[in-house]
Symmetry: C2
Subunit: 342 residues, 2 copies
Amino acid sequence: MSVSAEALRRFVKDVFLRAGLSDAHAAIVADVLVWADLRGVETHGVTRVPRYLGMIAAGDLNPAPAISVRTETAASVLLDTDRAAGPVAMTAGMEWAVRKAREAGVGLALVRGTTHTAALGYYTLLGARQGMAAIAMSGSIPNMAYHGARAAGVSTSPLSIAVPRGDTAPLVFDMGTGVISVGKLRQASKTGSAIPAGSALDASGNPTTDPRAAQIPLPLGGPKGSGLALMIECVTSLLVGNAILAETLAATPAGRHHKNNGLTLAIDIARFADPTAFAGEVDRLVRTLKALPRDPEVDEILAPGERGDRMAEERSRTGVPIPRATVDELARVAERLGVAMF
Amino acid sequence: MSVSAEALRRFVKDVFLRAGLSDAHAAIVADVLVWADLRGVETHGVTRVPRYLGMIAAGDLNPAPAISVRTETAASVLLDTDRAAGPVAMTAGMEWAVRKAREAGVGLALVRGTTHTAALGYYTLLGARQGMAAIAMSGSIPNMAYHGARAAGVSTSPLSIAVPRGDTAPLVFDMGTGVISVGKLRQASKTGSAIPAGSALDASGNPTTDPRAAQIPLPLGGPKGSGLALMIECVTSLLVGNAILAETLAATPAGRHHKNNGLTLAIDIARFADPTAFAGEVDRLVRTLKALPRDPEVDEILAPGERGDRMAEERSRTGVPIPRATVDELARVAERLGVAMF
């Protein structure tokens, strides 16, 4: 089933309006989730709707948060987001970072106490569209092995960086710190497709290639991926006084609730370089790399986000394919909340 | 041959004094190189001395740079380092970032036109010792394959993050973006020890496990490592208007000279959290991860930098082992410059 992005956005927005979010907040959540679906990142798309509703039901996601500035300096803020939906909190974070960067050259917003932060590329793109070199990270629950351990210890904490370009939309890079994403493991468990060796552990912590058993991603490059994930917890969760990993691993009462923390940073390019020259240099670098001798095993040398950009362009015209199982789940949500399906 | 850190520092300082660096600058270069040797990162230690001298001879490294502030905002500076030695320029960068962070909550220093930036962990450690969450990155020449290409296109651009801890020295994370470092490839070519499959290309761009032929590291996680390296070039070199990758790949006259650019960022932890509580949380997280069920294939679960910390402690007592070939090279330097050997 293929659905237009507008119809999907309308549906998701209606669902979250009904769940108690404001018009503005429901629109942001809808835009962020559908953005991921348009770009082919289905694991962070509308398939999350039932889980976000579950977080509201569990009291983990506050549909009507009072986002407040806990600390403000010349170049930074610490936002207490009062369990806001991740897209709402991280968008607020990047807007603050951009505002501070305009004043101070660089702007930092620490985002405390949000929920699933969704696709980070959305927020860095938001910054890059405003002339910023933008960085975002987020800390979440332990779902990835720490190097040398046979259990989940850190999160697949993502890191995203985006910069404006001249020719096209900004260059958006977004990586998880695992060899494979949790979403891809879930997908493989449904389809039964093979898991490459060295990418996952089963629930008991044993290495596995069995798609039905694989549950815990291994860290990218061993100590590199898990070390980066650990440092991201430090500069997000620990910096805002809202530890996630240690609390969850100790199974404290606080550790049993879903929460995320984030960091958004913006650098005002115009303060340091001519923005047109900068954008031209990014284009030139991408062109240069794409013209390198090609590995015969790949069809094309791609820039970060290029595949997603192309898919988004295509899906904006042809619609977003939604798997039957997801349609069924969303139909049950629609019925329960009295919202019209797409 | 084992040499005390003090003797090594004295030697390296004398060499660079003789090569025209000021007393303060020579001391910094000596401290940074010997720090790497103490921690077991020999590829970034005193073995670099002849190459740094070569850069001075080639006019790429300016022994008496006039480091100037090209741009200054409330929270940031762009330092034009006038081809200063990497350790001098990056130390200046981190000191500026810390000063700005004290005033503005977050501080950024962009470091333009330096040379080999050496071990980035030294600079983030410098920030962490002053109560900062510190980040550093550097952009350098294309020496790593871009994903999908069969040629060097990006750099093994490192990323370092450090935070203070309560129990011990700060937690210092430092990663290259390649599967393997250029230094390890050089080492393997000397010793003939095997190169793991999927880690390097030969000079013609063909995958190889032959230690004599391997020259170009492959990026960590394919598009993740090479994408991150590309973004690091954007937020260092392109932000300061001093492109490296595209210039070198196009073999322009400017592209034939060695240069590096860097970014240092400091976040003043005390503005956002109680520093003692923060440090205690870092300790708690590290303890928690080290107590996870252990993979029987490793002896111990380690924190980022833990192996280096231990080695530095040991080598501070027992001395730094220097391979015969390096001793011979340094003896030739000593003789040429009229400096006493260690």
